[in-house]
């Protein structure tokens, strides 16, 4: 019993943990107590646990009750001087009938004269429900094949994929219509040291970029992101463009299809923010020295030129 209880708790906690993950990213585990839904989870867990305990208690009560009833029946039988024959439970009756069991005393009628090293065989009927399971599965198989391959009612893998993609595109279009995305792209992006955005950018960086540029941006497979030298330009616009479009011949992945424009902006801000942090074991500088252009609007033209020359 205890193992069953334990395992059930395992299942419940495992799956609810996942559901929570799904709702709130991975933030729940970082600060479970501070999560706005924490009281709700707590109450849910409590309700589940209580319900579970109640079920266990109820089952035990029922068992005890049964013992009393049987005892009483036995006493009554003894008083009347007849042999006590237990009433079969509803379950036993049901079980016997769906399996078409022969009563034990009739077993000798169906005992075959087989004897293999002492093993005898009965000639019981096939359990009726089993027989229908066999027939049913054969019929199901026929219907399945007809629906997929004769009438083409159900889609095969390729069509299923097409439908899935179309549905996703429609949903995305609908979502974007009601939540117009902030227009973020490399032509208009400006850097600001916004703490909140940089923090979000850090999360994106750690999961996607640290593998090549190292956790602190010191570079390894990819270049150092904290120094003043840039292969493809160091302005926020250029950084954004490189992340979005990638530099395939150098192994830089185009992240445009994978990260949302907002995420690319966040991580670009973060990269900008770690400039000059001098992490340990930096990779040697690569590319050209980039100095931040004076913050004047008139400079955009010049900047565009540097983009070209440095790529």
């Amino acid at each position: 019993m205890r193992t069953i209880t334990l395992t059930l708790i395992f299942i419940l906690t495992g799956l609810t943990a996942f559901a929570q993950e799904a709702e709130s990213g991975s933030s729940f585990w970082r600060d479970p107590l501070g999560d706005p839904l924490f009281p709700f989870y707590l109450v849910t867990a409590f309700v589940f646990l209580t319900a579970f305990l109640v079920v266990i208690v109820a089952v035990y009560m029922l068992k005890v009750l049964n013992v009393f009833i049987r005892k009483a029946a036995e006493e009554r039988a003894e008083k009347q001087g007849i042999q006590y024959v237990p009433q079969p439970s509803l379950w036993t009756k049901f079980w016997n009938s769906i399996n078409a069991f022969k009563p034990a005393q009739e077993e000798k009628d169906i005992l075959l004269d087989h004897n293999y090293d002492g093993i005898k065989e009965l000639d019981n009927h096939l359990p009726p429900w089993w027989k229908w399971l066999l027939y049913g599965s054969i019929i199901w198989a026929g219907i399945y094949l007809v629906m997929y391959h004769v009438t083409d009612t159900l889609p095969l893998s390729g069509d299923e994929y097409q439908a899935e993609v179309e549905l996703a595109q429609a949903q995305k279009a609908k979502f974007l219509a009601s939540n117009p995305p902030a227009a973020i792209d490399e032509s208009t992006l400006e850097y600001s040291a916004d703490e909140a955005i940089i923090a979000k950018g850090r999360t994106v960086y750690v999961t996607n970029c640290a593998s090549c540029h190292m956790p602190e941006g010191q570079g390894s497979i990819g270049p150092n992101l904290t120094d003043d030298y840039w292969l493809h330009g160091g302005s926020i616009k250029e950084i954004f463009a490189v992340i979005k479009n990638g530099v395939q011949e150098k192994g830089m992945i185009p992240w445009g299809p994978v990260l949302s424009p907002e995420q690319i902006r966040d991580v670009s801000y973060y990269i900008k923010s770690i400039k000059g942090t001098n992490p340990p074991n930096p990779k040697a500088p690569q590319g050209e020295l980039y100095t931040e252009a004076a913050p004047v609007e008139a400079d955009t033209v010049v900047q565009a030129d540097t983009v070209k020359s440095s790529i």
Binding site: L15, D117, D123, N124, L156, C212, S220
Partner: protein, 711 residues
């Protein structure tokens, strides 16, 4: 009629029992090691011989062929003599069977850690060992059929039917799946390529489960369970119906391992429907087992042998319901490639095979040594600790399988994958891997307790080497009457032939069209054979068992195309694999799919990642492969490889083998120069260079076709 005196050969049974126990312990220990590596990768001691990719096949082979295989021979040799009232046909053949089988196991235990593998699951052993297996299996078959022919019991009991089906089918499966083209004594290429190789392999793989782990064990159940319970078998009719339906239907179900793959849709559908039709025949075995215990349940409570058997039969029922459900496309879409499948096979392996073996051993050993079991209490402890082990193994794996699968598939409202980095989903399930190892540890502990108990029992008794028996010989020219099946039971050759026909039909109908009808594998013009360097790299990929953790099959799901080919937007097509001898689709994604890997990362990324995966991807559980940076590829093999592949249909031009090494060197130098730009010095003939060449080739051809059609 006068009774003849003879004796049963217990010595051969004892030999197989000892082998069972030893290899059981070894196989489980290797399994536990592999399980620990899946959350603590340095548990391979940084040795190439003990990395996960090499010991995973060692574990599966040790458990299936050494532990379960030896136990099968022990049980078959014990029960067959008694059911047929005769000694085995030939003691010499029995011992050839025994020593031959142990030699094969030793050969496997040496070659697999060395990386000598065909990479086809449960058929990893290289061609000379394959031949040895075929020979020894036939020896076993001759011995069995010979014994049946000289029987003193007119009719064959249901256990014998299952043994016959086992012999015939395993022979067919093993021979057909092992067609391979040798390169040298230790290396061969599968005769089949790509999707056809996959079909043959999973026809084999699935039916290895059916006819090596299931039918012989059903036979053993039909002997040992009624003996232990001292009850008549519940239904003779059920035996007949479920035996024939089981062996006929099972053979068709292999393609359910290839749902949503590039296997033609009609073959996938056959895999699904035949799996569903298998529920009832499989359950027929379970019901006949459990219903035989009707009226003996009070004894189940006291007798550990029966307890083990009840759990075994129940686990069989659960696994054979779960299997068909996993064959439904919508369930398979979630479960395939995840830990769910690992849980499923272990419910079957630990529950059905393991527990039935334990029950049988606890039953046979006291009888063969003429003494009661040393300790019933210890057997009970074994039972509970083993059961707990199964629960601790299976439940975490179910949770981790579903969790990871849902994470792979989750999109946010903007249409991007929520968990873009595969590693996030791996890290999430590591606690479950820890629990699973604890479960495996418990199970192994139980087995150690059993070993002690059995040894103590044997020492307490005295071994009965030749157990005396007597029976009347069969009268000649007796007309057998009764039902048609009853008559058939007295005609072993006819019975064997009918079983053979029953198991051939499904395989033929699925394979012949896939091989002969061109439209089943649409070709892609831009797909070219591997270059010599890539070929060497691919062989290293095979040697290291990368396929144990990485699939090469992007299924037609939006979540997979977005994850693995966000730029190209192509799921895998059968035409991409036509030069893949063998196919490397894999069956489990502990790491990400690699079929679209080429060009995704730089050469230096691969270099660093193979050297220290954890340094590149923090938290990765992939082991490091430092030896690839020290060892060099063997250029003398290049021309042999090219010639072998040309023989089996890869279109390398005549004479190409002469210039292959030149081309290889040019490509290797290009990669090493490329790495030099990043400050990495590496000799061009180093294995890592070949590996990088292969990894960078994956999925490139289909991209080339796109570029071509766009222009």
């Amino acid at each position: 009629m006068e009774l003849e005196k003879f004796s049963y050969d217990n010595k051969i049974v004892r030999a197989f029992i000892i082998a069972t126990v030893i290899f059981g312990l070894v196989g489980m220990l290797v399994g536990l090691t592999a399980a620990i590596q899946l959350f603590y990768p340095v548990f391979n001691f940084d040795l190439q011989y003990t990395t996960f990719g090499r010991i995973r096949p060692l574990h599966t082979n040790a458990i299936i062929f050494a532990f379960v295989g030896n136990a099968m021979f022990a049980g078959v040799y014990y029960s067959m003599q008694r059911l047929l009232k005769t000694r085995m046909f030939s003691d010499a053949l029995s011992w050839i069977n025994f020593w031959g089988w142990q030699l094969i196991i030793v050969a496997a235990a040496i070659t697999l850690p060395l990386g000598l593998t065909t990479s086809k699951e449960y058929a990893e052993l290289e061609w000379p060992i394959d031949i040895a297996i075929a020979v020894i299996w036939v020896v076993f078959g001759i011995n069995m059929i010979g014994t049946i022919l000289k029987r003193r019991e007119r009719h064959m009991y249901v256990a014998i039917w299952f043994y016959i089906a086992t012999f015939v089918t395993v022979a067919v499966l093993h021979i057909v799946n092992s067609f391979e083209m040798p390169v040298n004594l230790f290396k061969s290429y599968s005769w089949y390529a790509g999707v056809q190789d996959a079909l043959v392999q999973w026809w084999y793989g699935h039916n290895a489960v059916a006819f090596f782990l299931t039918t012989p064990y059903l036979g053993l159940m039909y002997y040992f369970l009624p003996k232990a319970a001292n009850r008549p078998v519940y239904s003779y009719r059920l035996s007949i119906v479920h035996f024939w339906s089981l062996i006929f239907l099972y053979i068709w179900a292999g393609p359910h391992h290839l749902l949503y793959s590039t296997l033609p849709d009609w073959a996938q559908s056959l895999g699904t429907v035949f799996s569903i039709m298998l529920i009832a025949p499989s359950w027929g075995g379970m019901l006949n087992g459990l219903f035989t215990l009707r009226g003996a349940w009070d004894r189940v409570r006291e007798e550990p042998v029966l307890k083990f058997m009840v759990v075994a039969v129940t686990a069989y029922g659960m696994a054979t319901l779960e299997g068909p459900l996993l064959s439904l496309k919508n369930v398979n879409a979630i479960a395939h490639f995840t830990d769910w499948i690992v849980a499923h096979v272990h419910v079957g392996g630990l529950g059905w095979n393991g527990f039935l073996i334990f029950g049988i051993l606890y039953w046979m050993v006291p009888r063969m040594w003429g003494t009661p079991l040393y300790s019933k209490n210890l057997a009970n402890v074994h039972f509970w600790i083993g059961t707990l082990g199964i629960i601790f193994y299976a439940l975490p794996m179910y949770i981790s399988g579903v969790t990871q699968s849902l994470m792979w598939k989750e999109f946010n409202a903007e249409g991007f994958l929520v968990y873009k980095n595969f590693l996030e989903t791996t890290v999430q399930i590591l606690p479950m891997h820890v629990l699973r190892a604890i479960g495996g540890g418990l199970y192994l502990t139980g087995t150690i307790i059993m070993t002690y108990n059995l040894i103590k029992t044997a020492y307490a008794g005295s071994f009965i080497a030749d157990e005396p028996a007597e029976a009347a010989p069969l009268a000649k020219d007796v007309k057998v009457s009764g039902g048609w099946h009853h008559v058939l039971e007295s005609k072993p050759i006819m019975f064997t032939v009918l079983s053979l026909i029953a198991i051939l039909i499904g395989g033929i109908i699925e394979m012949v069209p896939t091989f002969l009808i061109k439209s089943n594998v649409p070709t892609i013009a831009s797909v070219k054979p591997y270059t010599p360097l890539e070929l060497h790299g691919r062989d290293i990929y095979i040697r290291e068992g990368c396929v144990s953790c990485h699939s090469q099959l992007v299924r037609p799901f939006r979540s997979e195309v977005e994850r693995y080919d966000p730029l190209g937007g192509e799921y895998s097509k059968s035409g991409e694999y036509i030069y893949d001898h063998p196919f490397l689709w894999g069956s489990k994604r502990t790491g990400p799919d690699l079929h679209r890997l080429g060009g995704k990362y730089s050469d230096s990324w691969h270099y660093n990642h193979m050297l220290a995966p954890d340094a590149v991807s923090t938290g990765s559980i992939m082991p490091a492969y430092p030896w690839l940076f020290e060892q060099s590829i063997d250029l003398s093999q290049t021309s042999l490889k090219i010639k072998a592949l040309r023989t089996i249909g890869v279109p390398y031009e005549e004479g190409y083998e002469a210039i292959a090494n030149e081309e290889l060197k040019i490509q290797a130098r290009r990669i090493s120069e490329n790495l030099q730009l990043e400050g990495i010095e590496v000799a061009p003939e180093t294995e890592i260079v070949a590996m990088i060449a292969y990894l960078q080739r994956l999925g490139k051809d289909i991209k080339a076709s796109k570029t071509a059609s766009n222009q």
